[in-house]
């Protein structure tokens, strides 16, 4: 009896407790630091949309109570809420809005009442987990990031032993750029988590029909998260054809697996159910959604000292542009993580040879013949190809010169958990080598944990170092923040970095109250005010070049293409000297200027 109980407990610890602890530690880490992270352009719009979507949910309930259940489902009622920010599906925004409604400390009946995008009729009952409303909005993203770590662990466990899988899981979140995106109410880490969820379900579906059905549901959730999900079936199909390449040689077409049938049917259905904006014109609006992202404009983005805002036309620049995701990866991932991933790649390439085999968990074919319910039961599931496709796929998409690069690393974040499974394999190998080298039993026992901690330490330290400016962080190879700036790599976007300057801005608020906030969106200013970080009535001169002249205090977010706005402030305020500069490790992120009494022409002399 006891002989059976011990392995069960150990198995429970390994398969559930360890990932749960990792997930909780991840979310706790993010909750502890997210308050230092400013509010970006996109995030502030998702706050607004999320609250409006929640307003619609409330209207469903209110109409139901009033005996008019259909009213909330009319086109006007649905579009009234869901038309807001309809370029992205609603699932995450609905979660953000719901979390806000449930978990913020309500301070919405006084002067802040008018700052909400939905009518506030009375003080709502909430569970006041968060002092700041923005934290309540971000909570689902943070929980999902925690889940992402657990999923990375479970994915890695399909191929690796527990300790290397745990290393893979930690490394999947301990990346400065990933961490930046993981704690904010946006979609880039949520879609990465969904990528792992769908991939894991597909992997398991190769030998379990239950997971085949779930794969379709999960893909629907991914579709309802962000449009990156459109690519997932192509990655899975590529792997499936590779795994079943024996069928193609015979020649015989491989069976269509249950996972694909499920994705084709349940996926769109789940998307449709979770996105009310589609309900009244599903075909037309799906087309509009697809077209929006297929024809997305090229925003400005700095890469290797150049400002990129159009697809390059000459060959030299096209080639330089192709290098973008590779060089960005080289300069943004912790170097130790990359070294481990390189070792892991070699191990996967040599997986079927005897010498590398012990790093991997054995999962031999279980059946002689496949079936559409278990299409991977009779073959090796080709874990290396599976990881390679999920790493190369998103990166290759961004490498195309015609693809906009304005989001930088965030556009290929879905590759990262898979890359970290490779790094986990590398860690497993290193632990194995060290274990064989060590003679002393005590040392041998302590080594796996010590090495795992040591191998995760640089990634964790770099991530902590980068906060709250993970976008501007570059690794040891690039020379950190300063090195990245010197190389002409992108420093930031979205105007999130104004947060550390807010106390200074309040202290230097001009009598006229005319403040130019540059790239900090009005929605972000509203949320800073709701959070109590800006006083009610703080001025906002608006956007555009023409309003700079009318302001008396202004900031410029430092991005290469924003130089024009700094020039406008020089001219309007009659000075080239910023009154305040926000820096991270000495690298400027935001400059603030005040209008001088002296005329510009006098200063020029």
């Amino acid at each position: 009896m006891s002989g059976e109980a011990v392995p069960t407990v150990r198995r429970w610890r390994r398969e559930w407790l360890l990932p749960l602890v990792l997930a909780m530690a991840t979310s706790a880490w993010m909750l502890a630091v997210e308050g230092r992270q400013g509010i970006g352009r996109d995030e502030s719009q998702y706050f607004r949309a999320g609250e409006r979507y929640w307003g619609w949910v409330e209207s469903v309930w209110n109409n139901l109570r009033q005996g008019h259940p259909a009213r909330a489902f009319t086109r006007a009622a649905v579009d009234g809420a869901w038309d807001d920010n309809h370029e992205h599906p609603g699932l995450m925004k609905l979660l953000y809005g719901t979390s806000w409604r449930l978990f913020h400390k309500c301070d919405c009946m006084g002067g802040k009442r008018g700052l909400h995008p939905i009518p506030i009729s009375g003080k709502p009952v909430t569970l006041p987990l968060f002092r700041r409303e923005s934290s309540a909005f971000r909570f689902p993203a943070i929980l999902l990031a925690g889940l992402g770590v657990a999923l990375a662990y479970w994915l890695a466990r399909r191929m690796l032993r527990p300790t290397p899988a745990a290393v893979a899981a930690v490394l999947s979140v301990a990346q400065p750029h990933y961490f930046f995106h993981a704690q904010i109410a946006c979609f880039d880490v949520p879609i990465t988590v969904m990528a792992v969820l769908v991939a894991l379900a597909y992997w398991k579906s190769l030998r379990s029909p239950r997971w085949g059905i779930l794969c379709g549901v999960f893909w629907g959730l991914a579709l309802a998260t962000k449009h990156n999900a459109w690519l997932f079936p192509f990655f899975l199909l590529a792997h499936y054809l590779w795994m079943r390449r024996g069928d193609l040689r015979r020649p015989r077409l491989p069976r269509v697996p249950l996972a694909f049938v499920s994705m084709a049917t349940l996926g769109p259905l789940v998307l449709f159910m979770l996105w009310p904006w589609l309900w009244h014109s599903p075909v037309q609006r799906t087309q509009a959604w697809v077209q929006r992202h297929m024809q997305h404009e090229h925003y400005n983005f700095e890469y290797l000292g150049r400002n990129w805002n159009l697809p390059p036309t000459d060959t030299r620049l096209k080639l330089l542009r192709v290098t973008f995701p590779f060089v960005s990866t080289l300069f943004t991932l912790p170097v130790t993580t990359m070294a481990l991933a390189a070792v892991g790649t070699v191990l996967f390439l040599r997986r079927r040879r005897r010498d590398g085999a012990s790093v991997f968990v054995a999962a031999p074919p279980r059946a002689l013949r496949p079936s559409w319910l278990r299409p991977g039961a009779d073959v090796d599931r080709a874990g290396g190809a599976f990881l390679a496709i999920h790493i190369a796929g998103p990166i290759a998409m961004v490498a195309l010169p015609s693809t906009p690069i304005f989001g930088g690393v965030k556009h290929f974040l879905p590759a990262m958990p898979f890359l970290c499974v490779l790094a986990g394999a590398g860690a497993g190998w290193l632990i194995q080598v060290a274990g064989k080298l060590a003679m002393a039993p005590r040392l041998r026992r302590a080594l796996p944990l010590a090495l795992a901690a040591l191998l995760c330490a640089p990634a964790v330290a770099e991530t902590q170092r980068s906060h709250p400016d993970g976008l501007g962080h570059y690794n040891l190879l690039a020379g950190g923040f300063a090195g990245g700036a010197s190389l002409g790599m992108n420093r930031q976007f979205w105007g999130y970095s104004a947060l550390p300057l807010l106390p200074w801005m309040i202290a230097h608020r001009p009598a006229s109250n005319r403040i130019y906030w540059h790239d900090v969106l009005h929605d972000a200013l509203i949320m800073y005010t709701r959070d109590g970080r800006l006083p009610l009535g703080i001025g906002d001169a608006g956007v555009g070049e023409q309003v700079v002249e009318q302001s008396d205090l202004g900031i410029v977010i430092i991005e290469k293409h924003f130089t024009v706005y700094e020039g406008l402030l020089w001219r309007a305020y009659g000075t080239t000297a910023p009154s305040s500069v926000y820096t991270h490790e000495g690298v400027p992120f935001v400059v603030a200027y005040e209008r001088r009494k002296t005329r510009p022409e006098l200063l020029a002399k």
């Binding site: 400005n300 400002n307 805002n309 159009l310 912790p334 130790t336 070294a339 481990l340 070792v343 590398g426 190998w429 290193l430 080598v433 060290a434 064989k436 080298l437 060590a438 003679m439 002393a440 090495l451 040591l454 191998l455 330490a457 640089p458 330290a461 770099e462 902590q464 170092r465 690794n475 040891l476 020379g479 950190g480 300063a482 700036a485 010197s486 430092i558 290469k560 293409h561 130089t563 024009v564 700094e566 020039g567 020089w570 001219r571 000075t575 080239t576 000297a577 910023p578 009154s579 500069v581 820096t583 490790e585 000495g586 690298v587 400027p588 400059v591 510009p600 200063l603 020029a604 002399k605």
Partner: protein
Amino acid sequence: MFIDRDYLRRRRVAVVLGAIIVLLAVVETGNALVAPLRTPSDRDWTTAAARVRAEFRTGDLIVAAPAWADPLMRQKLGDLVPQAVAGRMDSARYGRIWEISQRGARAADTTGAAVAATARCGGLTVRRWEKPPATVTFDFLTEWRQASMAVVHADGVEIPCTQGADRFQCVGAALGPELLEIDTTLRNGLAVDPVEGVTLALEFPAVPLGRELTVAAGLHNVWLRKSSDGKVRLRVLADGRELGTVLVTSTSGWSRQGYDTAALAGQTARVRFEITVDKAHGRHLGFAAEARNP
């Protein structure tokens, strides 16, 4: 005995590779902890600024290296770097250049100069570079009021423009000094929106020439450069003889040309700039020029 020497002998490559990765992890962790402490502090900047101020002379140039530290330099010394200097065409006219440098960087403005003084201020290095300055015999930007301007039609008819307080006003065009953003850098220049089908001619009647006439030109505003693709031509003539043409496009940046005027050095000449464009939409040309002895 902690180590299996036999295993070490058999798997030497693997052990060395493993040791390298472990060492890398230690170095990377250490760097992540230590690097932030090596950042130049506000105190370093204040000290460096005080040192520059103590010896600064009118006509000196102050720069930061790397260039991304420029806002920090201007925060401390912006009063000594007015717009006219910050938006300079180039640094040829500056004989003394103060460089506040970090991490071993060197400013491009100091090319060809020699170090005359160096001082460490914490994480910063203050260097005074010296070089023979170019003697500017005529600055077309600051002396723009000496010029006349006309719109020249294809049939040769010239319609003169009127000179206002801050610009020339022509039929369908205007030209005057502005602070411009060209190639994501701020530049002082004469700004004009070229017009299709005509030539905008800016003529300086009596320019004291040096051995070189330097012209720099580019297109203003990142958004306009993105949305338009017209090509602007800036033709430069001295006493009716063409010195050259600067071709300005969305990607040509701040394009600088030096024309040899040694044959006319010391003489006064009529210098004419002719501006034409194939597609005028979104083209906002900025240019500056100096006659000088390098």
